[in-house]
Symmetry: C2
């Protein structure tokens, strides 16, 4: 997926995030959850007048407390605020951990109410990211929840601070915004530099829009977009306990876009954020797009692309800039899909290296030394096509993930 929104319909920028749309405020502060003293608490707040919302959550059966909470809250299709912390996932923390999440939402609702906006805990989603298994330091978190309400800015800096505060092993904050020519906007921020997988993964994304839209319209736009973007970002096949993508709409622009326009704008922002997540994945030295075409169906193309994108031998070869197409064929051959083992074609960066499952002369000399690698596989059995974004498997990946409990 390298889809970007039709430039005729608007403009995509990376310099703005959740506060790009009208009527959203955000903040990021250091609550002291991270020992490093870095920003670790973020808030996204909708001024209304509407509070429609939708969410997509991890497919992992082991769900963190904030995921269980936010799923429950989202049933109303309504959100006024999202509070997010890094420095601790609050996953596998038992009933006590769930109480911590509940209390965080209640404290935020109370702080917002005192600040002048009557808010219930049921209008607050909670997201957490960090190490699994430890309780959050509530003695630090609770006072910070009140503090952050007073820090909320309506300008772009609040959004950027929030994008900073959700970072874990990310090296850069990730923001994107789409300004529609009809004067409504979609903004977003994301974190997640590893454990990115098909069903999302330690990935937190908050999207905002000032369009007028029902929860159903948001849900539809969000599911279509995540299916083509975050669900097709596969760094290591792992899938976190905490993945959450939220979309809030406040109607502040007073514009009601068509479902088609809403879909396109949400997709554009998600696609750009997914590209940024890939580029900043743990230990990445190569940004890789794996496309499988000519499959029996789009689903089968996706299964095959994922099998290649997850194969450790393919990924280490790419780290070594090695056009080892045999490993691509071996990876495709394991995928549970329809294929003709004698009719597979592979190209790297547009150079055919294998035609009808046999190597092309010069294939081993293809230059893959650049940071971007496009792997294209043609199965010649149908017309299904799908692209998965992935990265190489590098020493950096091993280093980041073998250091003590990250």
């Amino acid at each position: 997926m390298t889809t970007s929104a039709d430039t005729a319909s608007g403009k995509l920028v990376r310099t703005q995030g959740v506060t790009a749309p009208l009527g959203f405020r955000a903040a990021g502060i250091a609550a002291g959850i991270k020992a490093s003293g870095k920003l670790d608490l973020a808030l996204v707040f909708s001024e209304g007048p509407e509070y429609s919302a939708a969410g997509v959550f991890t497919g992992n059966k082991v769900k963190a407390a904030p995921v269980l909470w936010s799923q429950q809250v989202l049933k109303s299709g309504r959100l006024r605020a999202v509070i997010l912390n890094s420095g601790g996932a609050n996953a596998c923390t038992g009933p006590g951990g769930f109480q911590d999440t509940h209390r965080t939402a209640e404290e935020l609702a109370k702080a917002l109410s005192n600040w002048g906006t009557e808010t219930g805990a049921g209008e607050v989603a909670v997201c957490s990211t960090g190490l699994i298994g430890d309780r959050l330091p509530m003695d630090k978190l609770i006072p910070a929840v009140t503090e952050i309400v007073h820090e909320m800015g309506g300008g772009l800096s609040g959004g950027l601070d929030a994008a900073h505060a959700i970072m874990t092993t990310d090296t850069v904050p990730k923001e994107a915004a789409f300004h529609h020519r009809d004067k409504w906007n979609v903004g977003g921020m994301a974190k997640g530099a590893g454990m990115l997988a098909p069903s999302l993964a330690t990935m937190l994304v908050v999207l905002t829009t000032d369009a007028v839209a029902t929860p159903e319209q948001l849900d539809s736009a969000l599911r279509k977009a995540t299916r083509l973007t975050f669900d097709r970002l596969d760094v290591d096949g792992s899938c976190s306990t905490n993945d959450t993508v939220l979309l809030l709409a406040n109607g502040a622009s007073e514009v009601t876009p068509s479902q088609e326009d809403l879909d396109a704008a949400v997709l554009a922002v998600c696609d750009d954020l997914a590209e940024q997540l890939m580029a900043d994945a743990e230990g990445v030295t190569k940004r890789v797009h794996v496309t499988v075409a000519g499959a029996a169906s789009e689903d089968e193309a996706l299964v095959a692309a994922r099998a290649i994108a997850r194969d450790s031998l393919v990924k280490t070869a790419l780290f070594g800039s090695d056009p080892n197409w045999g490993r691509v064929l071996a990876a495709v051959g394991i995928a549970p899909i329809t294929l003709d083992p004698d009719r597979i074609t592979v190209s790297f960066n547009g150079n055919p290296v294998c035609v009808d499952s046999v190597g092309v002369p010069g294939a081993r000399e293809v230059d893959l030394s650049g940071a971007d690698i496009a792997v294209r596989v043609e199965l010649n059995v149908g017309s299904g096509e799908a692209t998965v974004r992935t990265t190489d498997l590098s020493h950096g990946y091993v280093e980041e993930n073998s250091a003590y409990s990250s």
Copy 2:
């Protein structure tokens, strides 16, 4: 699986291999396929009087020419010889590559016939291992096929030379033999230090026995054994185009064991070879046994154990000797099995680190600095249990697999 044969029924040794049973000869020579000049051609020859055989092959849809050939030959349930080369997989080499395999079998049959044992190409299995996609240097291979027939020794050194000649990135040859107290024997050799996966993977194994057994009995014993051993060895989830496990019986002992005894002896040798493969896997610094118990069925236990064994985040944590049990729970949570996310227990080397999905105090201090790590997960939903052997994901793995085309 750490099953070893009942010592009351016999003895397992690692100092003998395919020539441990009566009536088998073997050799290993340098044919010049490997640029390094190391041993690269192996032969295992059965003197009879019987020539029963069975085989298990890769589940990869992309199958190397020697796999296609040997599968065809095995339909007769009869083998007189196996010729194996390292230095080239002869996979994805098209019809020309298949002709090369066919010609290798014919040349060996001719050489054996000239040597005094009337042999047909249809009695010769062929195995290859090495880089995918290149044709074999037939100008070197063909003369070597005649030469190796003259090098065949009946002693143990021939078996050891053969075990050396099939090595690729293996650092040590792998042999095992079981001597049954009733005076019949099973011997074996194996290679494969990466791409070891559920359906086998760039793993070549030749097993021999001097027992009297039909092809059906051999097939039954071999399938039971591989299901519990090589199929549960999962280094990186990859699965090669060339995996082959062969079992030849010549009846030279004149003993006809019960199916049960045959099963146990073949299992004992396979289990020991699988342990050796794990210990010599590419870049291994930890030997890991992942056991899942209390699953709804043995199949579900296996699916869950495999999900953990393949998880890059679990494997990098183990490389770092980090008792990061949260990653184990996250990996189990992705597995498509029945589970109660609140009732999972995890232990490392016998130390409980997580009970009912919540961390145990002191869990992060469990010492995993040794080379052997046992991960045990109790799902508490049934009585299914399975163990998968795996390794950590280390810098060495990345290094070995990112160097130019290996």
